[in-house]
Amino acid sequence: MTTATPAKARTLTMAQAISEATAQEMERDPRVFVMGEDVGKYGGIFSATTGLLDKFGPDRVMDTPISETGFMGAALGAAAEGLRPISELMFVDFFGVCFDQIYNHIAKNHYMSGGACKYPLVITTGIGGGYNDAAQHSQCLYSIFAHVPGLKVVVPSNAYDAKGLMTTAIRDDNPVVFLYHKGIMGLSWMSYFEGSTNEVPEEPYALPFGEARVVREGSDVTIVTLSQMVQKSLVAAEELAAEGISAEIVDLRTLVPLDRATVLKSVAKTGRLLVADEDYLSYGLSGEIAALVAEHLDTVRLKAPVRRLAVPDVPIPFSRPLEQFAIPQVDNLVASVRGLMNAKVY
């Protein structure tokens, strides 16, 4: 099959990319099914399941009651029987009502069975703030899932990655938590970073877990980041370039497995590290990356101390000025990098 002129590139929003990956895997594998709140007629509150009900019907696209413990536990049970459920937790913030099923069972049963039982399931969930949804609907919390052994954790920053990573998530024989930031889904009712809507091939493809991507090469400083913060970092890097500062941006893409080598290689090259994270500052991702570099100071030479930019250990406040203060913005990224350029190691 050849085409004389290449087709015009097709762009998708991240929401469309996720539902396309899901649809293609459902076509390929009859064991895959979707359940969650408002995933059917509504198509998912964040449009991650749009179109699936029409294609596959209510037996494979199931609206659930507001019973997260019930349907997360059911996902485990169905996966144990050989089905491959995709179970949507509308907002990650709601994990509080069903975390026992996730961290004590879904995450650990394979291990506790000595490898005898498998749980091939995907938990999809919306994360992030920036649109004034306050403390119970704006968190990221991916570090909590990554902290518990037994869960793979995927946090895409754009449509192309989201499709390939979602395909891999569905094909994986392990439980995978797939966290999509609402502010890069390309929704028609929430402002978003347009860099997240990009070219996505129609045919199915899988992107490997554990491979970070250098989304922008640079020589002065490494920004290690993920999710919507990748898009913010790209904007910040342009501003910094105008000042003559060359920033390299590493998009982690998956937290478990974590691509340590790419982080270390980049930091070794630039000698400066900023970790930019929309999760809480303490005891989380930014500390993990900082520790990784600290553990390799025998091979990595730093020109400046490691800096972290994250939510300063406060719940996400509602009011616009408060929320903008609490969640790192492009300006904060620029200022942090400038500060790093002036800092020296002892």
Partner: protein, 336 residues
């Protein structure tokens, strides 16, 4: 238990105030959220305008709030959910401070930290939150405290029919009955949990039937009518105050707006909301109070005018209040 003239008038007045509040919010909420002033390509921007974020309005559900709160005292506790304005107003939450909170202002109940789903007014023992089902056990705690402290106050948890499928609901019912707590659980059955109809989420038709499984009375109020709610709630609150334990009430009510403002409502038959408005409970109660001679046409009109002005004043207060300083985001994580 029949409502006194004072109670009837109070319920009528509060329902008008709530409706005025919600209809005003529906307009104010849209300010700044529509093209062309938002990101190109968007139809609506949830984070824009003077009142950003999610907005769940309760127009149509006024009878539930007033019928129950007519029996409550200031020292009784109310725990609401994500659709909280009608309960807050009926419980006597400070209207100015509540409105300022939704504008994200420093004069708000939570100094801009909470927003419309997270309103806390300890002066009248009101709180609410955005996690479905979470309020029921919290009301049990307030009731437990009343019991331990030797008070005759009661606690009421209000939530939707969707919330009655949460584990927290079922655990709360058992606790309340087991410990004979002075608590009343009030389920608002507005037929939907976002897009999912009750018949697609709940295995039985009436949540009131579930009460028997926990050893407490269950009452179904089949009409969206303030007096019917008043009667059922009167018995439940009195029972709780006498120390005889909890009651579960389910009220069939109507949601006039979408689940949240901006909801495309494609899951709902076209014209359904309009049809529901044909059975508006406010004019119905208005007819009753006028027939009883409690109000004539001109005092009705001046009452409405006064309430509209009261609500407008709250919106003006919210709009014109100052924002908190950005760095105030760091305050209030811990008590000093």
């Amino acid at each position: 238990m029949d409502a006194t003239a004072g109670q009837l008038l109070w319920m009528y007045e509060k329902m008008i105030e709530i409706r005025e509040y919600e209809e005003t919010m529906a307009r104010v909420y849209l300010e700044g959220k529509l093209p062309p002033k938002i990101q190109k390509g968007l139809a609506f921007d949830i984070g824009a305008g003077p009142v950003p974020g999610e907005m769940h309005l309760a127009a149509g559900q006024e009878p539930v709030a007033v019928g129950v709160c007519a029996h409550l005292r200031q020292d009784d506790t109310v725990v609401g959910a994500h659709r909280p304005h009608h309960f807050a107003i009926a419980k006597g939450v400070d209207l100015d401070a509540m409105t300022a909170e939704m504008f994200g202002k420093d004069t708000g109940l939570g100094r801009g930290k909470g927003g419309h789903m997270h309103l806390f007014d300890p002066a009248v023992k009101f709180s609410c939150g955005g996690i479905v089902g979470a309020g029921a056990p919290q009301a049990c705690g307030a009731a437990l405290a009343a019991k331990k402290l030797g008070r005759d106050s009661v606690a009421v948890a209000f939530f939707g029919e969707g919330a009655a499928n949460q584990g927290a609901f079922h655990e709360a019912l058992n606790l309340a009955a087991l410990w004979k707590l002075p608590v009343v659980f009030v389920v608002e059955d507005n037929k939907y949990g976002i897009s999912v109809e009750k018949s697609a989420s709940t295995a039985i038709a009436s949540n009131a039937d579930r009460a028997a499984g926990y050893g407490m009375p269950g009452v179904l109020v089949e009409r969206n009518d303030a007096l019917a709610v008043f009667k059922a709630a009167g018995m439940a609150v009195a029972r709780a105050r006498r120390g005889e334990g909890p009651t579960l009430i389910e009220v069939k009510t109507d949601r006039y707006f979408g689940h949240f403002q901006g909801d495309p409502e494609t899951y709902r038959p076209k014209g359904e909301a309009k049809e529901l408005r044909q059975h508006d409970p406010i004019p119905a109660l208005g007819t009753l109070v006028r027939d009883l001679g409690l109000l004539d046409a001109s005092s009705d009109a001046s009452l409405r005018e006064r309430l509209a002005a009261r609500v407008q004043a709250a919106y003006d207060f919210g709009r014109n209040s100052p924002y908190p300083r950005p760095e105030d985001a760091l305050l209030h994580v811990f008590a000093e």
